[in-house]
């Protein structure tokens, strides 16, 4: 390749810039996308060109805002596209650390390539600034996006470009052109210890304690200085600047801003161009949550996301032991222990929760569930009973009764289990009634059972997962009364659960004939649809579902019948 020719026999830089302006003007005029690649040799020529482009665009009397975006995670870019879509905005993009050995151009390519359609559909006008090497990489990694380019401009050496004194960032500030800076990337690369101090600083700021906030920031800054981490130090300086602004300490704020600028210009690797402290504060406080307990819980969750479960637990325990009011933290600890199957410690944590804003019934349930896991059934039952007494939620009460029933079933207290399940059915909250039922329990003479009774026995056997016995009970009901729609339907449902499709279909269809209410017919039609789906007969399945819908469309009662609803949940629970 003959690189000695005058920019490959092209026009001068002035003409390049003019051409670019025309391209962008047309794109705005017709509201079309414009994807431009600007390839440069050095940072100075880039900054100069950027300045010139700004000046050229302003000539066209379009009120423009130039965004110099340091790319971020995909979500942010999507949001940015949506925000600028339809506005008179040029998106000016370059990779983080462009032109250095640490250029993040690959990450940028991935972001832009994955947004190609979005960029075009939203008619974005963008200039991507790349060095020569970066452009080669770009073209090879994202050939599709490269092929969608509208223009490529190439900027020569500084001697061929018009020299300009002001750099782009200064021009931006002076011309009041807004520069948006996105902070999440640097925040994610900060040392966790520094991040913790910043988190506490935000927490303190939220609690209006600026002195404490400043103290936390100073701690973070010490660590940043000792680590010699310019990135972290910069974040700390900005946080301190924000606090100084909040305090109204203008002189201090101005000094800090100068320190920030000096740090920027002294390091080639820094990503920062120009920022606003408001943006900084928004980014930081969005990253960290509201109050002290939330701060530490958030920190713990961050640690857990890095698979540092026990460090997270340590942080929470330290906090909780050192703070009188730590209900949220104890709850979080309990949940973490439960998740890690350390149920005894989970119980201990839950026990530490005092009355307050936390739902005590929820805590009671969690404790009871954990006690079940470690075999402390008596304590668990007592807690479930406590829940039953105090709860006003029918579902909660039913579940507690069912859990008691399950415990008794596990411990072979079959009668107690049946009684508990019966209480669940009725959502009874009276413990006395339950205990008196147990006391009055008599043995049953099966020869005197009616079909309805056999049906109920079948239901109970289902709940206790004795499905063979359930099949037998339902069959008995049908034997005594072949037209008993409920028993026929129940047996159909049971067979469908057991995977006995032919028998299921037989009884379901028969049940449909026997039931009179549309809602019950509808329920069974849906089950018929399920059977068809299981064997891949989708058309027949949809026909069945549609029939089910039609039946209830004009019915005053569009809900599933209570019996079937309960049976569904019983069967599904028992087979889990």
């Amino acid at each position: 390749m003959n690189k000695n020719s005058n920019v490959y026999d092209m026009d001068s830089v002035e003409i390049i810039i003019t051409t670019l302006r025309e391209e962008i003007e047309l794109a705005f005029r017709w509201n079309r996308p414009s994807i431009i690649f600007a390839i440069y040799n050095n940072v100075t020529s880039r900054k100069t060109a950027q300045t010139q482009i700004v000046a050229e665009l302003l000539k066209s009397e379009i009120d423009q805002i130039i965004y110099q975006v340091e790319y971020d995670i995909n979500n942010e870019f999507t949001a940015l596209i949506e925000r600028i879509s339809g506005t008179k905005t040029i998106l000016s993009i370059d990779p983080l650390n462009s032109g250095t050995s640490d250029s993040q151009v690959e990450k940028l390519i991935a972001v832009l390539d994955s947004h190609k359609n979005r960029i075009i559909d939203n008619r974005i006008k963008m200039i991507v600034w790349l060095t020569a090497d970066e452009s080669i990489l770009f073209a090879h990694m994202a050939p599709d996006l490269w092929s969608s380019r509208h223009r490529v401009i190439e900027l020569g050496s500084p001697s061929e470009t018009k020299q300009s004194v002001a750099i782009f960032a200064d021009n931006v500030v002076d011309e009041e052109i807004e520069v948006i800076y996105n902070f999440n990337d640097p925040l994610s690369s900060i040392d966790p210890e520094i991040e913790n101090h910043l988190a506490m600083a935000v927490g303190a700021w939220r609690m209006k304690d600026l002195t404490k906030a400043e103290s936390f920031i100073n701690n973070a800054m010490s660590i940043a200085r000792s680590n010699k981490s310019k990135t972290s130090l910069l974040v700390c300086l900005m946080a301190k600047h924000f606090i100084a602004t909040e305090k109204g300490a203008k002189s201090e704020a101005a000094d800090l801003l100068k320190e920030i600028r000096d740090l920027e210009s002294s390091s080639k690797n820094l990503f920062v161009k120009t920022i606003t402290s408001t943006l900084m504060s928004e980014s930081l406080v969005q990253k960290f949550p509201v109050d002290a307990q939330s701060v530490i819980i958030s920190t713990a969750r961050e640690l857990r996301s890095q698979n540092k479960d026990f460090e997270a637990i340590g942080a929470l325990v330290d906090f909780a032991n050192g703070n009188g009011s730590a209900n949220l933290v104890w709850l979080e600890l309990g949940d973490i222990y439960a998740e890690l199957n350390i149920f005894d410690k989970a119980v201990v944590s839950y026990e530490k929760i005092t009355e307050g804003t936390i739902d005590q019934n929820m805590v009671t349930k969690k404790m009871a569930d954990c006690l079940c896991k470690i075999g402390e059934f008596e304590r668990a039952i007592e807690l479930y009973k406590k829940l039953i007494r105090s709860s006003t939620e029918e579902n909660e009460v039913q579940e507690a009764w069912n859990n008691i029933g399950d415990i008794y079933r596990k411990t072979s207290g079959f009668d107690n289990a049946i009684a508990a399940y019966s209480m669940a059915d009725q959502a009874k909250t009276s413990i006395n009634r339950y205990e008196s039922e147990l006391n009055n329990r008599q043995s049953i003479d099966s020869s005197k059972l009616t079909p309805e009774m056999w049906n109920e026995i079948g239901n109970i056997f289902v709940r206790t997962n004795d499905l063979v016995e359930a099949e037998s009970a339902y069959s008995k009901a049908i034997e005594l009364c072949p037209d008993n729609a409920v028993a026929v339907g129940n047996l159909g449902i049971l067979y469908s659960t057991l995977g006995k499709r032919d028998q299921a279909m037989n009884y379901l269809l028969k049940g449909i004939e026997l039931f009179e209410r549309p809602t019950e017919k509808s329920s069974l039609w849906n089950l018929v649809g399920d059977q068809y789906r299981l064997i891949g007969k989708y058309t027949e399945a949809i026909t069945a579902y549609t029939t089910a819908d039609e039946l209830v469309k004009n019915s005053p009662d569009g809900n599933l019948s209570v019996n079937f609803n309960q049976l569904f949940s019983s069967i599904s629970q028992s087979v889990r």
Partner: protein, 420 residues
């Protein structure tokens, strides 16, 4: 697309607009073909239409391939508007880019995209699915959300199941596209029960068919963009699964995959859309009249041809290499040049300038090794697929043609620099 008016240009400003590179040629509201649409030599898309209109036992699956920039997306849009197709099928067309990350694509992503788009598009058009199916889909959604908490669409009391499912599919698609971690998690969930996902797709397809009376036809664009390895992983290793959905599907595939040996078994289900041939193989001095007429028509439907000198038009067509996208690029760049000269017509000097600009763009991004490969192809026109030529094909530095056999040639603007 919004309110784009497909009007033949009478001035350079409008002409600049009409030669936009990625201009989708939407059909009009009355179903008529787009005014900028032109029939290419041999009308290859008719083959696909005939195949789709033929009777079948199970909804067919086809593979649609073609050279880069040859107009595959345009043809898919055109297919969507075909009245006979619309009578038999309920067609939806989408780019996989909108649903998944093409840099990291997996068969599960494609299946989820099929189900999600079918559901969303059907609902968007006012379609109603049976309540039981909606409930089951909602349960399926719940199971996925339980394991992948980042796709939770928010179970707010009172939100209609359908709206919740729509939100879930939209959210999942966005996360699949943008968040690698979530993508991995969703794939793991689907892995545990791929049959479940196929069931979701088939149930939606059956419901659409029963309610609408037409078979769903899914046209998936940009599946030719992932790497050859990823494409093989989806369409060869998982072919059985990709054939399972109970709807008609047209999968776009890259030409590299199309011509790979492993694809032999299903080539009869595939259609290839070639570039327009301007010169016969190994006969650069001869012209294929039909090819030139096609590209002339491409220009004339978009622009009054009095705006371009006849010789300049011929030159532009030659430089395009028979690739519609490159024709648009040359025209647009030439128009820009002519405008700046305040000329009344595009002249040869403008076209040459445009060719130089494009040439320089390639010079910037092609490495020495690339140039060596291009030189080899220019001398031998020989076809041998390798990973090394794939980027050159994607960049359109190397162009493919089909004339019985397949052959390559270098992008015409590059020929003058091959021997520098």
């Amino acid at each position: 697309m919004g309110n784009f008016d497909y009007i033949r240009a009478k001035d350079f400003d409008r002409a600049w607009l009409n030669f936009e590179l990625d201009l989708p040629l939407e059909t009009s509201a009355d179903g008529k073909a787009n005014p900028f649409y032109i029939t290419r030599p041999g009308d290859p898309i008719d083959e696909l239409i005939d195949a789709l209109l033929s009777p079948f036992y199970k909804p067919p699956k086809f593979f649609f391939s073609g050279h880069r920039g040859c107009g595959k997306s345009t043809e898919l849009l055109h297919l969507m508007a075909n009245p006979q197709i619309r009578e038999k099928y309920w067609p939806i067309n989408f780019s996989i880019r909108d649903e998944a990350d093409i840099i990291d694509l997996d068969f599960r992503d494609v299946l989820l995209a099929i189900g999600g788009r079918m559901f969303r598009d059907y609902r968007k058009q006012g379609g109603v699915l049976p309540a039981k199916l909606m409930k089951d889909l909602d349960s399926w959604r719940g199971r996925v959300e339980e394991e992948v908490t980042t796709v939770k669409s928010g179970k707010v009391a009172g939100v209609e199941v359908g709206a919740g499912l729509e939100a879930f599919f939209a959210n999942a698609s966005m996360k699949m596209r943008l968040e690698p971690t979530t993508r991995t998690l969703i794939r793991q969930v689907i892995d545990k029960n791929v049959t479940g996902l196929i069931d979701v797709i088939n149930s939606i397809a059956a419901a659409v068919k029963l309610k609408d009376g037409r078979i769903p036809l899914i046209l998936i664009d940009d599946l030719d963009k992932p790497s050859l390895q990823e494409a093989k992983s989806i369409f060869q290793e998982r072919r059985e699964i990709m054939m399972q959905p109970n709807c008609a599907i047209v999968y776009t595939v890259s030409s590299a995959l199309f011509y790979s040996k492993e694809f032999d078994a299903i080539r009869d289900q595939a259609l290839f859309l070639p570039n327009v041939m301007l010169h016969p193989h190994r006969s650069q001095d001869k012209y294929v009249k039909e090819g030139y007429e096609t590209l002339k028509k491409f220009v004339s439907v978009r622009m009054d041809t009095r705006l371009i000198e006849p010789q300049a038009l011929m030159q532009a067509i030659t430089y395009s290499g028979g690739v519609f996208r490159e024709m648009a690029r040359i025209m647009r760049t030439s128009i820009g040049r002519a405008r700046r000269r305040n000329a009344a017509q595009i002249e040869k000097v403008d076209v040459e300038w445009a060719a130089t600009e494009i040439r320089n763009e390639y010079r910037r991004i092609l490495e020495k090794e690339d140039m060596a490969i291009l030189k080899n192809f220019h001398e031998h026109n020989h076809m041998e697929y390798s990973d090394r030529i794939r980027p050159l094909l994607q960049l359109l530095a190397l162009l493919e043609y089909k004339n019985g056999e397949n052959w390559f040639d270098v992008h015409p603007v590059l020929k003058s620099v091959l021997y520098e």
